[in-house]
Assembly symmetry: C2
Homo-oligomer: 470 residues x 2
């Protein structure tokens, strides 16, 4: 996602485009993250599964104009399952399924106690679940147009039916508890609402279910939380606020730009040529801050990038005092970027390149442009230590989306139709129907694995287990 | 609908096809019913409205492959509305909207007390709400394929949003109560479930929400209720059971067939030629029984046909004793048919012809074949006084649907995909979420107009009003 934004800032020189990111969901946008089996060390994981496929899934669940079908990938483990036990079902996110199966230890950990079957379902158009070949899908909404949350929920409903009727003996009457984090958590919550006869409970971790227009969520709250997380961990608000000025100053001169190109190890095709190009670096740093807050786990992790425990605190070591020079300010910011991109010490370039081809990176932006229009921007001090990109408007968003997609979606320029009225913003929903969790700064934390949790979280997990039981 | 079945019995000589009817929802399948303005005497009605249209409704709410839009018709009356009052919203059925607006007096009657706006929304592909021209739609699922309950619900959600945001001043925070009878009641119930943030309450009258596979509804219960209604009103079970034999006997000879053709005033192209053709009449009578039970209102009415008050009792006058001859038996059945088709005394043919063209009659069967697969059959005595057409199976249903649609749906023969897993059968739904009403034998009775209600029903209506209030 950040790659995409950098590309856009090159093309358009408008940095407000960074809001096209999905700051609370996963993006495996870096080339180094492409090899999931390597990244997540599946063979070493204590969590093991069979990979299976549900055939004959309708591309379109809600009309009969297109009767194509496809195969949906899912992972399953019935080792702990006993007849009548529950099905723990992960509603897959906007990414390949492996990362979620390996990082949702909560389901694995409690399955034996509940004698539960564990299933992870892949979201259509991500990972290996493609209704149409990628080459077609990336060229035309006639093929990509079936990427939507409603269709994905219907996929999951069909899969659950298949599991209960055919795949898991004795499960016909098993209760189904859905789990999900972030966008996957939104899907879990919506599964419980939209398919109450199929799903009996939902654990939605870090799921911004309310993050739509007119639902009372502040558009600048995300960076407010990011800022708080960094300041709490030792970053100096003023240091960061002033560091942007340092970058701007350096970018004014050829010598300064050469320094930044070298410091941030920008690849050749994307090095700063003009003062305005400094947005490439500013957006990169902003993106690193936003992402690092999400994965500020207390232990060494490898969810969105290899990182040490408490990475925010580590990044803040170089940002605890106001720099004495522009270069010193730039170095402080670079330290954070380098930690995120280069914890292993092997990266030759940072703020990694976008793919030459328009790869899977663009799928979440597509969803963000067509249905998941989640208002987000930075308003700058005192709310956050970034710069002002507010207000977030539907018209502005639509304009950005058009610029983003006109180049590769050929079929119809009018596909961006935010369906705000159809989004389940849930304002009037009885609170007993489902439970929400919105973490301050750490994503998926309620459902990741148990062994490495500090005590305080284990307590809340016990409460969670009790909820699953009731 | 009955017309369609008669056509089929000619073509296929299988009378089990009668189950393609929608026995609990409305069909305006007779030519005499086509002129709604005349039929329902709109100009004389105490209920008056403005006809309006919602533009730019997406043909497909759940994908971006097809970005066509259409205009949705609705009726609105805000005379009683005061700012902040509720919106009473009728979720239109499988037929032109006029009949529902004129026969849902409950909404009109209580609107002044609640200071409510009254809105009736037309279901896509019925009445005057056509996403594509009929000529295209009847030839190809690429155009007809967007006829589905899910799409219709999304239409209504958009319209409610439009009403609240733009059309009705001061209604932004107005509660919305949806009303519907029969299929419209199913839609109301599903609106409350699927769009809980938009719809605050639902009154679903005579809505067979549970009438799907595996939901515990007996497949032969409908004709059991019909039989009970007729026997209660004076019909003799044995008389009707034996009358079918009388028809069969008469149909064996040319003379007997001539007698039946004349008695039942069958039009020339559909007169009995062989003994098997007797199914034309048997299905016609069966259909009249099933329909008349639904409209067994205690007052003269004109909902599905012009009829006297208590029409079932009227029909049973000729069916109270076992006939002494085949002809007498036939005459007893004819009396019921004649009452239904010819209460006005002007009909020249009964068991009316199907349209030459495949008209709107075929839309509900299309829905019944694609998503509304509601198990229904007759098992004969002692359950009912018809003949055995059970069991109802998905495979048999699919076969019938294929025979029905292969002749005019050219695009794809595989469009019949009952989505049982996606239907909200609601087995495990909390009862507080919505309220169900399944009348024994009278349809829409809870929501029709107040002035002509006998006391016992007014009592239950008062309870209903209380529910609307809370």
């Amino acid at each position: 996602m950040r790659i995409l934004l950098l590309l856009l800032s090159i093309l358009l020189e408008v940095d407000c485009l960074r809001v096209l990111r999905d700051p609370v969901t996963l993006s495996f946008s870096n080339q180094r993250n492409r090899d999931f089996k390597n990244q997540f060390s599946i063979s070493d994981s204590p969590y093991q599964w069979s990979t299976e496929w549900l055939a004959n899934v309708p591309v379109d669940h809600f009309a009969f104009a297109n009767n194509d079908t496809f195969k949906l990938r899912y992972f399953i483990n019935t080792k702990s399952y006993e007849e009548g036990g529950p099905i723990f079902f992960y509603t897959g996110n906007e990414g390949a399924l492996e990362g979620f199966a390996l990082n949702t230890g909560f389901m694995w950990d409690i399955a034996p106690e509940f004698k539960a079957a564990v299933v992870f379902a892949e979201h259509r158009y991500y990972g290996e679940t493609w209704p149409y070949p990628k080459s077609l899908s990336y060229n035309d909404t006639r093929y990509l147009g079936y990427l939507s949350s409603e269709q994905a929920l219907a996929d999951f409903a069909l899969l659950i039916d298949h599991l209960k009727q055919n795949r898991i003996p004795g499960a016909a009457n098993s209760p189904v508890i859905v789990f999900g984090g972030s966008y996957g958590g939104m899907l879990s919550a919506w599964m419980r609402i939209k398919y109450p006869h199929i799903v009996h409970g939902a654990i939605a971790a870090s799921a911004p279910v309310f993050w739509f227009f007119d639902s009372g969520v502040k558009e600048d709250v995300y960076d407010e939380i990011v800022t708080r997380a960094f300041v709490t961990e030792g970053c100096n608000f003023k240091a960061i606020e002033k560091a942007w000025v340092g970058l701007d100053n350096l970018a004014q001169t050829e010598e300064g730009r050469a320094y930044l190109n070298s410091l941030f190890k920008l690849e050749k095709t994307r090095q700063l040529q003009t003062p305005g190009d400094v947005n490439i670096i500013k957006n990169c740093v902003h993106d690193v801050f936003d992402t690092m807050a999400m994965v500020n786990y207390p232990y060494e992790s490898n969810f969105m990038a290899p990182l040490p425990g408490w990475p925010v605190a580590a990044a803040c070591k170089s940002l605890s005092v106001v720099a004495k020079s522009d270069k010193e300010a730039a170095e402080g910011l670079h330290a954070a970027v380098n930690l995120y991109y280069n914890y292993t010490g092997k990266a030759e370039i940072l703020c990694t390149d976008p793919d030459a081809a328009l790869g899977e990176n663009n799928l979440w932006p597509y969803q963000a442009c067509t249905e998941m229009v989640m208002p987000i921007c930075s308003s700058g001090p005192p709310n956050d230590f970034f710069w002002n990109t507010c207000p977030f408007t539907a018209a502005g968003w639509l304009e950005e989306c058009k610029q983003l997609y006109v180049s590769f979606i050929l079929h119809d320029a009018h596909f961006m139709v935010p369906h705000a009225a159809l989004c389940p913003t849930l304002q009037n929903r009885a609170s007993t129907l489902l439970r929400f969790y919105q973490e301050n700064s750490i994503i998926h934390v309620k459902i990741i694995d148990q062994s490495i949790f500090p005590c305080s979280w284990v307590v809340s997990r016990k409460l969670e287990i009790k909820n699953v039981r009731t």
